[in-house]
């Protein structure tokens, strides 16, 4: 059918679709009256991407073209326009599915069609920014969940919103997924680990009412919940363990990461969570934890390159804080207003710099910076951790060092005076025996030597003096004795705030007017009678009537569970974003978050216990025809696991997982040469102890040379906030899963545990390893395929014992060929699409 439509499209386009020239008045009528109605009630489904039933109402052309049922709008003829018919609900088609529009609204659209459906500003025309009437700037509406026909399907209010839409489109929801699938889905979603064989047995045995809810509670109570959802937040926070830019040195950031995990595990209310991160340092008598929380906006990069203008990079960090705040909480591309007023949304350049002013007063390096400051204060403000005696000891050692350094310098000056004498008295033979690099300088007459050559000779001469050597050794020993203390990058205000200016065209060297801290004018304001600070900003973001924060937050949660948010453009709720697919559901969820005192766990429970979430994810070709993007949620979606979770799942399946929570970042093995393509080829010494098998989120993240196993699977690059990850599907991923050393270790371990615990027959063992990996048992066809693979490999390795030993990594004789074939079979399981997919 779709194929047949194509030529029709071309014919229509050629003739009657030339857009009528609308007058300015008509355009205004459209923009003010018509477009908001289309946006609120229609565009969620009928946009250029979703094209439900083939219809998009994003442009006049596409509205006139219509969809599968024919043209939606016939200019001048409301009686023949399907749009009007559907809105009036007089015929078979009744829209919108969520319930009728008010008669006043229907009248506006009818009038518009009668007037010839004049359109407003087409894409590409110079647009006016969206006004305050844009849906996302209105407070969420407290909509009651709509009635549905199939009451029995409903498990939670969420389901009413979803089912009402499906019923309007005459689509039935999918059946509930089977229990094993639900267990694996929930475990991966809530804690990021597949269920263990014991957990599978327990859940299957629990057939009483409430078993599913008990499972949900157990998982939400698990400390691994904080790791799973903490990592999502760390994407938003652009967390990394290094400074970024050029030489990209290490930074102590992991305490912030642990704070996030801990806060989520305690179910810290989201308003508190935001406040402590944005302004923990400004709370009365902040605790150390609250200071660590402010690391959120210290995840900005620091340039350590020589010859930089420190002010330039301080400004970049402040700008990043504004853009991140915009996307993370407001769901607005505020960063677009850095150089000029936002083109599409009502955010002026001045608004941008008013937000900038909140983050401009951190006591970090900027302006004129001396060499000492650069060396000592590079990462400031910092919070250090240690017992008082550690600090005292370090201070004592530092004092001692400074004394010894002075002494050494004085001694060198003395020595230098004897240098000329030494040189004159140097016998010819001895001179000849000096290494050529040094002799080269020696042969230049003293008065013609440059700084570098003088330095070479000085050092050479000093190094032969026992007194100098002893002093140097002493200093070195002191240096090594200095205790290293744990630390965290935090926020601290300057006592004297910096003046904030508008930067003309975004250039910090071109100052415009001065600005005070403030929030975008289009959003509900803050009292203007005093100078505002970050604490005010945080309070404003999480005030119950803020139109954006709660919506953006629940939308991002939804996105983690279904692959896409209700608002597909999760970081752009402005006029260029896509309107919500289920606007009332979005509003209901946002109000619910506030009503639940911002408890995230309550929201998780609400979503995962819904019938919507529990549906099977199997494809339904008949539904895909009308809803190719599955925006109506007539089924669940299969989602490829995130980079870290792929590692975690393999660690869990193979029994290697070391599930310690938190602590400094770790260094699992990475392929040789991974760090070779960056400025400083830093050492990566693979862990030998338990830290070799920690969860993926603890892997040390270097911005300029990130762990290859993470980046191949779309882990963010931590340059700026990331609110949604790509899910790519590439040959490099295949190479990683097939051949990486870590994968070899995982498949060996899965083989060993299978042989040890999986029973004695091949069939038992196949079922054991299969269940460990995929939480289900193989069907006959799958089992047969693995049987034949095992037999084939067993024969192969039997004929080649050396190969078998290489595969198992074990020396001794005995069952090597058999174990090797199990390693091979384990490798197959850990490479399956199903293994790296949330079902």
């Amino acid at each position: 059918m779709l194929l047949r439509m194509a030529p029709l499209v071309l014919c229509l386009a050629a003739t009657q679709l030339a857009a009528a020239q609308a007058s300015l008045e008509e355009k205004r009528f459209f923009e003010e009256k018509v477009r908001p109605l289309l946006a609120r009630h229609c565009l969620g489904c009928h946009n250029n991407r979703s094209r439900m039933s083939g219809l998009s109402l994003e442009s006049r052309r596409s509205a006139l073209l219509g969809g599968g049922r024919g043209p939606a709008v016939v200019p001048g003829e409301p009686g023949r326009s399907l749009l009007v018919e559907a809105l009036r609900r007089t015929g078979e088609l009744q829209m919108p599915p969520a319930g009728p529009l008010q008669s006043r609204e229907v009248a506006v659209l009818t009038r518009w069609v009668r007037a010839g459906a004049p359109w407003g500003l087409e894409a590409g025309e110079d647009t006016q920014p969206a006004g305050p009437s844009h849906w996302a700037f209105q407070p969420p509406r407290q909509a009651a969940p709509p009635p549905v026909k199939d009451e029995a399907w409903v498990r939670s209010p969420i389901d009413r919103f979803v089912l009402a839409r499906l019923e309007a489109g005459r689509i039935s929801p999918s059946p509930e997924a089977d229990r094993r699938t639900l267990l694996r889905r929930l475990s991966l979603d809530l804690v990021g680990l597949p269920p263990t064989p014991r957990e599978i047995t327990e859940f299957l045995a629990d057939t009483g009412p409430g078993a599913y809810e008990r499972l949900v509670n157990r998982l939400l109570d698990s400390p691994h919940y904080g790791e799973r959802w903490g990592r999502h937040w760390l994407d938003v926070a652009r967390y990394a363990d290094s400074n970024g830019y050029s030489s990209d040195g290490n930074r102590p950031m992991w305490k912030y990461r642990d704070w996030v995990i801990e806060a989520l595990n305690r179910d810290m209310p989201f308003d508190r969570f935001v406040t402590e991160q944005l302004a923990g340092d400004l709370l009365p008598d902040p605790t150390r934890d609250q200071l660590v929380a402010t690391g959120f906006h210290r995840n900005t990069m620091i340039n350590e390159e020589g010859g930089i203008d420190f002010e330039q990079y301080r400004v970049e960090a402040v700008v990043d804080r504004v853009s991140t705040t915009g996307e993370a909480f407001l769901g607005l591309t505020v960063g677009c207003a850095r150089c000029h007023d936002h083109k599409f949304d009502p955010i002026s350049q001045k608004d941008f710099y008013r937000l900038y002013a909140f983050f401009n007063n951190i006591d970090e390096l900027g302006g004129e910076v001396s060499v000492e400051q650069k060396n000592q204060r590079k990462l400031d403000p910092m919070l250090e951790f240690g017992k008082p005696e550690d600090f005292a000891r370090r201070e004592a050692i530092r004092q001692q060092r400074s004394i010894l350094e002075k002494e050494l310098k004085a001694y060198q000056v003395e020595l230098e005076e004897t240098l000329a004498h030494w040189e004159e008295g140097l016998p010819r033979e001895e001179r000849a025996s000096i290494a050529p690099q040094i002799r080269e300088s020696l042969e230049i007459p003293p008065e013609r030597r440059n700084i570098y050559q003088r330095r070479v000779l000085d050092l050479f001469f000093f190094a032969q003096d026992p007194g100098w050597q002893a002093r140097r050794e002493g200093l070195k020993a002191l240096q090594e004795a200095e205790p290293t203390l744990d630390a965290a990058l935090i926020m601290r205000e300057l006592p004297q705030p910096r003046t904030a200016y508008v930067h003309l065209a975004g250039d910090f060297t071109r100052r415009g007017e001065t600005v005070d801290p403030g929030t975008p004018a289009v959003l509900p304001g803050l009292p203007g009678d005093r100078k505002l600070n970050r604490l005010d900003l945080a309070g404003w973001l999480v005030s119950p009537d803020h139109p954006l924060t709660a919506r953006v937050t629940v939308n991002r949660m939804w996105q983690r569970y279904f692959g896409l948010g209700l608002v597909e453009t999760e970081a752009d709720f402005g006029s260029q974003g896509t309107p919500p697919s289920h606007p009332r559901l979005l509003d209901w969820l946002a109000s619910e978050l506030v009503r639940q005192d911002w408890s995230l766990k309550a929201m998780h429970r609400l979503i995962v216990t819904s019938a919507t979430y529990r549906q099977s994810s199997e494809a339904r070709p008949e539904v895909s025809e009308v809803d190719p993007g599955n925006r109506l949620l007539a089924r669940q979606n299969r989602l490829r696991l995130e980079a870290e979770i792929i590692r975690d799942a393999a660690l869990a399946a193979s029994g290697l997982l070391v599930s310690t929570l938190g602590g400094p970042s770790v260094f699992p093995p990475q392929p040789e040469g991974s760090g070779q393509f960056t400025q400083v080829n830093r050492k990566w010494k693979a862990e030998e102890g338990p830290n070799r098998y920690r969860r993926g989120l603890y892997t040390f993240f270097r911005r300029s040379a990130a762990y290859p196993g993470l980046t191949s699977f779309d882990a963010p690059n931590a340059q700026s906030t990331e609110t949604r990850r790509n899910r790519s599907n590439t040959p490099l991923q295949a190479l990683t899963l097939l051949n990486d050393q870590t994968q070899t270790e995982f498949s060996r371990a899965l083989a060993r545990i299978t042989v040890a615990r999986g029973g004695s027959t091949p069939s038992q063992r196949i079922r054991y390893a299969f269940e460990r990996s995929l939480a289900r048992l193989p069907n006959a066809e799958e089992e047969a395929r693995l049987q034949s693979f095992l037999a084939h490999m067993g024969g192969d390795f039997g004929a080649r014992p050396l190969g078998a030993h290489q595969v198992t990594g074990e020396a001794g004789a005995g069952q090597a060929p058999s174990l090797a074939s199990w390693v091979a079979a384990s490798r197959v399981l850990l490479n399956l699409d199903e293994f790296i997919t949330r079902p």
Partner: protein, 483 residues
């Protein structure tokens, strides 16, 4: 990538077929197939290039970009300036410096910068009479194939941001690089190698590391893939210990079969993509060793480049680059470090510069000759340049060098539809600023895309609410450069 609906997929397929059958402007049969196939509903990889068809007739199929990291001095290599010689040692008049910013500027107050003459001998070379100093005797022999632009300027005077600017069109870290944009736009002709490959030589990797070849907000499938000239060219290309090709084959077969069974059960097209990804990975494993095996190269070729099999050198990377474009790889970028001649220990404009010139000069000339002999230069654009140039003023450290300069520096282009044997752009008497045909970094990028058949304003990707592109809001094609 955003999910696409069925209808537009179907329409797209029709347009493509139409394009292949009827339209003259094409890259050949396999051109529009990215290596990294994938067609993911929620994912990102796409099996199709983003562009249905090229915007203009392409002159080049592939690009070899010789990135001279650190900022080579245009004064010591390409641009003799008699006035600079005469004024050497004099402080630069303050009016020249007004409103300008430099690296290490804080030292200027103590030590006002003085102009620095050049301690090198220049000669005109070839039919075109291009000036080249005695630093680059081999390159001097191929100047008639090169097109110099002496008036390039950029925006950032620190290494990492300037490199990222040259590669991604913005100094903000994390945007897609040129190679990624090109791979995204028109795909690659290679079926078993990535479309965008990065090679590195010199003492260390470039500042900013992987951000220089990042796919940014484009699908990860388009990121530059670093190749090593020794060992495994790509990470994880070798099978695990004990798995010989036959066992690897059997393992992959089992994986594919089980994936197919799952595909039948759940019907997710993502599984078919995974199956093709494994098939391609397998082909890469087979072709990788052959790619880096130089034993098939005639002795004379190795000699011409100054390459030694197995060495990690710029010379070897140049041969590898040629082998890559021969196999259809779209964009090969070679980094060679240590052009940052401030005058620090070992980084002076005498021995320091000699050393790095010696490393690149002969291989570059050989690459140009080799491509030409094989008839590849017509369709391969070779680009030479750093992230910026160096100041006409000297900088005194341990010895004398030059600071970073962003107002005017030299790049050259060869092949791929450029007009050879010319010099574009002129700078003032001391080489501080362009006085004719100033060329911004965005213009360079627009031109490279143009030569590949792409209008730089029409290769866009929706990001943070706007149609982002490589050239940001700028970019003019350097028409004088076109043949």
């Amino acid at each position: 990538m955003q999910p696409e609906d069925l209808e537009s997929r179907v329409l797209h397929a029709i347009t493509r077929r139409h394009f292949f059958e009827r339209c003259g402007v094409g890259l050949g049969k396999t051109a529009l197939t990215a290596l990294f196939a994938g067609d993911s509903l929620f994912g990102s990889a796409t099996g199709r290039p983003a562009l249905d068809k090229l915007h203009v007739a392409p002159k080049a199929r592939n690009v070899i970009y010789l990135f001279m990291a650190g900022g080579p001095s245009q004064f010591e290599l390409w641009e003799p300036k008699p006035d600079l010689q005469k004024l050497s040692g004099q402080p630069i008049p303050p009016s020249w410096m007004q409103g300008k910013r430099f690296a290490f500027m804080e030292s200027f107050a103590k030590d006002p910068p003085k102009l620095l003459g050049v301690n090198r001998t220049f000669k005109r070379h070839g039919q075109s009479g291009a000036w080249v100093s005695d630093c680059l005797p081999h390159t001097a022999g191929v100047v008639d194939d090169l097109s110099f632009v002496q008036s390039v300027h950029t925006d950032n005077f620190n290494h990492a941001p300037a490199k990222v600017m040259m590669n991604t069109g913005t100094p903000i870290f994390g945007h897609p690089s040129m190679g990624s944009w090109i791979s995204y736009g028109i795909g690659s002709e290679s079926r078993d190698l990535p479309g965008f490959v990065v090679l590195q030589s010199g003492r260390r990797g470039p500042r900013g590391g992987a951000l220089n070849w990042s796919s940014g907000f484009l699908p990860t499938a388009h990121q530059g893939v670093p190749f090593r000239s020794g060992g495994d060219p790509i990470l994880n290309l070798s099978s695990p210990p004990g798995f010989r090709p036959a066992q690897q084959q059997a393992t992959i077969d089992a994986i594919l079969d089980l994936n197919r069974m799952r595909l039948r059960q759940v019907g997710d097209p993502e599984i078919s993509t995974r199956i093709s990804a494994y098939e391609m990975a397998h082909r890469m494993q087979a072709s990788g060793p052959e790619l880096i095996d130089f034993s098939t190269e005639p002795e004379a070729t190795l000699e011409m480049y100054g390459a030694e099999p197995g060495a990690k050198s710029f010379a070897n990377n140049c041969i590898l680059a040629r082998r890559l474009v021969e196999r259809g790889v779209r964009f090969v970028q070679l980094y060679h470090t240590d052009w940052d001649h401030h005058g620090g220990a070992g980084a002076d404009l005498d021995k320091g510069l000699d050393k790095v010139c010696l490393e690149v000069d002969r291989p570059i000339a050989a690459l140009i000759r080799d491509l030409k002999q094989r008839g590849l230069l017509n369709e391969t654009l070779v680009v030479w340049g750093g992230e910026f140039g160096r100041t006409p003023m000297g900088e005194v450290r341990d010895t004398v060098g030059r600071n970073h300069h962003i107002d005017a520096f030299t790049m050259w282009f060869a092949g791929g539809g450029t007009k050879p044997g010319q010099t574009i752009g002129r700078t003032d008497e001391i080489g501080f600023s362009p006085v004719e045909d100033g060329v911004h970094v965005h213009d360079v990028q627009a031109t490279i895309l143009h030569l590949l058949g792409i209008d730089h304003t029409r290769l866009t990707f929706k990001f943070r609410g706007r149609d982002a592109r490589l050239t940001d809001v700028g970019g003019k094609v350097i028409t004088k450069l076109l043949g």
